[in-house]
Symmetry: C2
DNA sequence: TAGATTGTTAATCGATTAACAATC
DNA sequence: TAGATTGTTAATCGATTAACAATC
């Protein structure tokens, strides 16, 4: 059932993965699937699948398995894809612009409503029909628009300041692309995308797997 | 000591974080730190820090703690930041270009040596002094250059094909930006950056934290 | 030396897996 | 009904935390 006790973050981080596999199954016109079949596809145990899903409800049926479409929808709901979080991007450098052009926000429950930067060369430029505004206008903007989430793609040394500002304006979610762990004295949900961490881990794993030292 | 037994991935994924905090300490001209002090800064237990580090060696000194600079260097070594992995980008769309412009590859042990795409409008364009080449030229390119790692930033429906191609050419590392779990019949290390998964988890956590339902 | 702090072993906690009664 | 497969409890495994002897 629903809110018995807190679902562990490990489980939550697997949800998008289930969602993707179910989406694939839908594409393949597969209407039902057992935890066993799904486990074979995903390379995890059937036990784990059943345990994970049962954190949120009994979506299956004994002797039958799970209806793909309905499970897909359930997980979508759990992930809040039907939400319409209003989102802004702060920092319209290469990464900020790439994210602005990212087309799947809507499908994930987000709507891009503003882009901010400090570079005069960028102000006024339109991406996805949204004009880049000066960072100075952020506070004014937030007064007139609901903003739920901010994407942080500013240079390293501005991150802390911008994050504090954003949080102080009451924005509740931060998608942080800076290689920095934010500590914020407000009640904010922070999701980090530490690209360079990921790259370093890749390096470690490569060295580990192919121990026979490369010539540098 | 070194290769007693396999270090768990959980530990490895914390290494870049240690590395960042040590880098900060260096900036602050702090020369020594105890696991206790570091634990306070990082918000993890001192036990965990000592356990983690001791997977790789005894870097500390009883009664003293750890020398910041030397620990920083040790972790850098473990993460292979002194490697010179040669890397290519496949898919020079918004994300691919943003990554090409990412400046910290060198510091992480990587060197960008090629960019490939299929869009005629992009071929010949230079980013960071590297000319975008047609994807058809990839095979030829790999014959003449060592390529250790490929960044995959191609559209969803091309991912599988490109990944197989890349792996068949003997490229050993994949940094995958597609929202897809790759299964490859070769010996390849894959590090996934599932941005949209991260965004969905952010949505979940926001809903969870601020249960008082938003008006959609 | 006395105090501090590590490296490491032991205890605890949480997450994953196995097992099986319930039931479609 | 018989077979299949869930939901859920119990067992196992691994990761985190605590404790402390070793030692700088």
């Amino acid at each position: 059932m629903n809110s018995k006790k807190k679902v562990s973050i490990a489980v939550v981080r697997r949800l998008p993965r289930y969602y993707r596999y179910l989406s694939d199954l839908l594409e393949l016109d597969i209407t039902r699937i057992s935890s066993k079949e799904l486990s074979a596809r995903m390379g995890i145990t059937a036990s784990q699948i059943r345990q994970d899903l049962n954190c949120f409800g009994g979506f299956g049926q004994q002797g039958y398995g799970y209806n793909v479409e309905s499970l897909f929808n359930e997980i979508g709901n759990i992930l809040g894809l039907n939400n319409k979080f209003q989102m802004i991007i702060i920092g319209a450098g290469h990464m900020g612009q790439a994210l602005a052009n990212y087309s799947n926000f809507e499908k994930r429950g987000y709507k891009l409503v503003g882009i901010f930067d400090v570079d005069p060369g960028l102000i006024g430029k339109k991406i996805k029909n949204i004009e880049i505004e000066h960072y100075d206008k952020l506070e004014e903007f937030v007064k007139h628009h609901r903003v739920d989430v901010a994407i942080l793609s500013v240079p390293y040394d501005r991150t802390r300041m911008v994050a504090d500002k954003v949080a102080s304006l009451g924005i509740k979610g931060l998608w942080n692309f800076s290689p920095m762990d934010l500590k914020i004295p407000y009640d904010v949900v922070i999701e980090n995308v530490h690209l360079s961490d990921s790259l370093m881990v890749l390096g470690y794993r490569l060295n580990e797997k192919f121990k026979c030292k490369k010539n540098k």
